[in-house]
Symmetry: C2
Amino acid sequence: MRYDELAELGQQLRVDAVRAAQAAGSGHPTSSMSAADLGAVLLAHHLRYDFAHPAHPGNDRLILSKGHASPLLYALYRAAGVVDEAELLTFRRKGSRLEGHPTPRLPWVDVATGSLGQGLPVGVGMALAGQRLDQLPYRVWVLCGDSELAEGSVWEAVEHAGHERLDNLTLIVDVNRLGQRGPTRLGWDLDAYAARLAAFGWHTVAVDGHDVAAVDAAYREAASTEGRPTAVLARTLKGKGVAGVEDEEGQHGKPLPDAERAIEELGGARSARIGVALPVGSRRPERPKPEQVSWPRYELGEQVATRAAFGDALAALGSERDDVVVLDGEVGDSTKAGVFGEAHPERYFECYIAEQQLVAGAVGLRARGYVPYAVTFAAFLTRAHDFIRMAAVSGLAIQLCGSHAGVSIGEDGPSQMGLEDLAMMRAVHGSTVLHPCDAHQTAYLVREMADLPGIGYLRTCRSPMPVIYGPDEEFPVGGSKVLRSGPDDRVTVIGAGTTVHQALRAGELLESVGIPVRVIDLYSVKPVDEVALRAAAEATGCLLTVEDHRPEGGLGDAVAATFADGRPQPRLVRLAVRDMPGSATLEEQVRAAGIDAEAIAATVMLLTGRAVVS
Amino acid sequence: MRYDELAELGQQLRVDAVRAAQAAGSGHPTSSMSAADLGAVLLAHHLRYDFAHPAHPGNDRLILSKGHASPLLYALYRAAGVVDEAELLTFRRKGSRLEGHPTPRLPWVDVATGSLGQGLPVGVGMALAGQRLDQLPYRVWVLCGDSELAEGSVWEAVEHAGHERLDNLTLIVDVNRLGQRGPTRLGWDLDAYAARLAAFGWHTVAVDGHDVAAVDAAYREAASTEGRPTAVLARTLKGKGVAGVEDEEGQHGKPLPDAERAIEELGGARSARIGVALPVGSRRPERPKPEQVSWPRYELGEQVATRAAFGDALAALGSERDDVVVLDGEVGDSTKAGVFGEAHPERYFECYIAEQQLVAGAVGLRARGYVPYAVTFAAFLTRAHDFIRMAAVSGLAIQLCGSHAGVSIGEDGPSQMGLEDLAMMRAVHGSTVLHPCDAHQTAYLVREMADLPGIGYLRTCRSPMPVIYGPDEEFPVGGSKVLRSGPDDRVTVIGAGTTVHQALRAGELLESVGIPVRVIDLYSVKPVDEVALRAAAEATGCLLTVEDHRPEGGLGDAVAATFADGRPQPRLVRLAVRDMPGSATLEEQVRAAGIDAEAIAATVMLLTGRAVVS
């Protein structure tokens, strides 16, 4: 395309952004207008994408990290001929694919954006897939705003991309100098941005983002730069092309004051259609044939930490399935994800202590068809909460494992204890939350997770626990195990993880004083086994949940929610971690928290009207 | 102190770290040993701190960001004479103040650490207090590890400190080149670290971290550098001083293999006592006398968004109390925190789009005695989840406000909707969770929050709602309002925020078909008003919760938990947002989510055995 045509295309995109926002009565036209020329040049000259086949393995990836500039993206799709004018004007309407912020409801959108600072870390995950696994020459293009460079997640990604020398990754920064409420810290100081990125090993090119020839050259330079990722730093004007709006404060996130006049000023509506270049590579490398592996087996009664069983199973799963990849937050020796790393180093991604990049990397790898397990301490997954939330918006299945759950980690103290993780993970849309108490159960669930449709979470513990299940027992998601029951059970004690063992011990204590109780291992915290819980409720009338977690949002809430259907309910009681722990041994911790066998037994005795024997 | 004495002090600290870990049987002696000389020089020559008066306003602040190196910190306290040998050896025992990771259980620790990458952002908050509010010459010293520089939160802080020219802040980086499971990305490449920090406006000094004279000079340089924060980049050896451990992999986080021999090699135990310099300034500037302010008043029936009332109230509170400070995540025009910014610019901290720094800044300001309100979209507070968790470990009262809660924001779509925030905030230890439905209620609660003992959370909504309460009504934390009731109520409908208005409208609809219902405004989601809920349960037998939030962890769980006391329960039903919303108008959203008046009325009719009238 000639440069004057490219400039015209930029104007078309601006007009379409203005029209879409005008039709919607809301949206971000000015943030779209600043990046219009950047988008035009990319679409017409650089992007290699088969719009008819979004799943084509050789397609470039385009992530609009500044998701609020969705009108620009939709205008690009119109120029590519996959969204028509009528659809463009459905922007932000109920049922439209053209949402306020892009989501994979559109087949060309890999990941939802709109929470700023996420596009680059996710793009890093995709670029890692391209470089290390697919070995295909696709490029990952991330278009982001200047404001979002304040997000730490961006710098986790900048560091990771520089370190991994991701030369298949290009970051385009739309430096329009205006954030939501006023100027950014750096304004148009492209040198400052360049110095920062260069310090992390990036190549940078600074351009006038409205000079299409310069932008074209910059993208060429990015594509031909080897051994380093490239950032194109583009000086632009927010609201470019419309007087009274261009480069003005107070014009963020709303339709233009006079859209008709603006469209006229931009030269009126156009309908140029761009023939986007097709991808060049499509064959992924042959991967080694999956092996017949022996699945981990343990002896009944053997002391095995669920984190250890997790590591063993993950490594075995990696032999069984060549699509499984693992991401570590520099704690693989503690979480035991490192066992996978030793067995399958080519599919092990060390993300260092950067949990946002850890989860974003998983999202990017999932978008490229892999089955990622992102693993760190349960407590530190909170660091990536927003990325988990957005992965759910994207509808992408990523698997998370959080180790060192609960007070039962012992001496390390509360900073290292996952005590809020069940609450966080249960509230994620479409999530599955699993908390095994045994090595075989853990191993079984690790394998099940690989085929979950949404976000999976496995909670493991630091300390060894006895193996109580045989190697061939099955543990379906949504199931539970009744570990102890009899016709005269007075109460049902429900645990998961370490508290299952406390419940079993309490069962023995109570038996010795003539109070039979049922014990349920509720390893599937979401979804819960409603059938088993209802049966237990009917049989015993009273359910006692015991969890190594805060009282809010975990096992107790999950069980209670089961009965919130308007029918009469059983009596419920919950034991959970109500105080702030300090350092102490495992035994001291669970005793202090009141979630040990003695506390369970005492509670059951109170519930059954028996005095506590002390 | 002479340099040979300083070196001796470094050895004493190493020996004490080794002894503490040996006594505990766990801990991180090697990570303490690398930083021992850095700590020795700081304590003996640079820190100005009155250990007898930790609350002295002129005290320097010392944050051990690499919290796992707590044995070093405790060894420093021993050298300062405030921890004796016997206490040192209680390290990591139950009841000891010397926890695995430092917490404010020790009077000289301002904030808990142990989740890496938090010390610097919190230090930035303290340094901002020193520079802008206290105007005292204290310095903030943050000692961090090299591994934790991978955390994005560190770079949010680096940028913020550079931008704010915090020359009262010194970052000391213990570059021992070894992380938990192996070498860091950059090893001993101090130049690379320096280039990164310099690009963000920092002054840097690179030194051999075991050359006490060089370290001394570097700290002097840091203290005398004006207009910029300084980073002292210290090349060190992990496990320094003990052969077979020094600079070896696989020695992270455990006692030394032969502690006795190591102590001997380090020259044996010592008991030097350091006279730490006292602070030089103590008088904070006179602040303007609090004004008599008129508290915001609205007309009954007036349409006012709770976010707007929040902004008005916050500004008024700022006039009433001079200790209130506000932090904004570059969305102050949306959250309405900006109203405070206009009224009290000197106490308004713009953190740009960096939510971890936003919350960490609040933590730092709280530690200096201010009452911070950190404000952004509810959805984006998830970004700072780990900082909120750690603030709870610190026991610090910070106030958070999340706006744009729920699907009722309308067209912007799910990326902008706070739908998991109640779950996140309820599970925080000691938190208070408030969700007002009316302007006067919001204003009242904004004022109440200032005196909360722990972490407070106020959830506000984007769209206007009618004012239903008078200006003098009181809304105590833990309370609720019965908005509709009669002797024949069949069901109690419980809402908060927007759903209160839907519940009221449902009450009218149901009245018209002869089904009286009670309506409760449960504005205090944690703690909940157990008395009112029990009374409603007794009177109506059935409670229906309605929330603009995920079904997990929010209002429904909070109400259910109230009845988990082993006594017979009322029937419970919950309406919540179960699907993934797209873009749509407010009305379409609440209808699609099934949390509008019609859905409430239909549910009540089902519950009461009446066919649904449609």
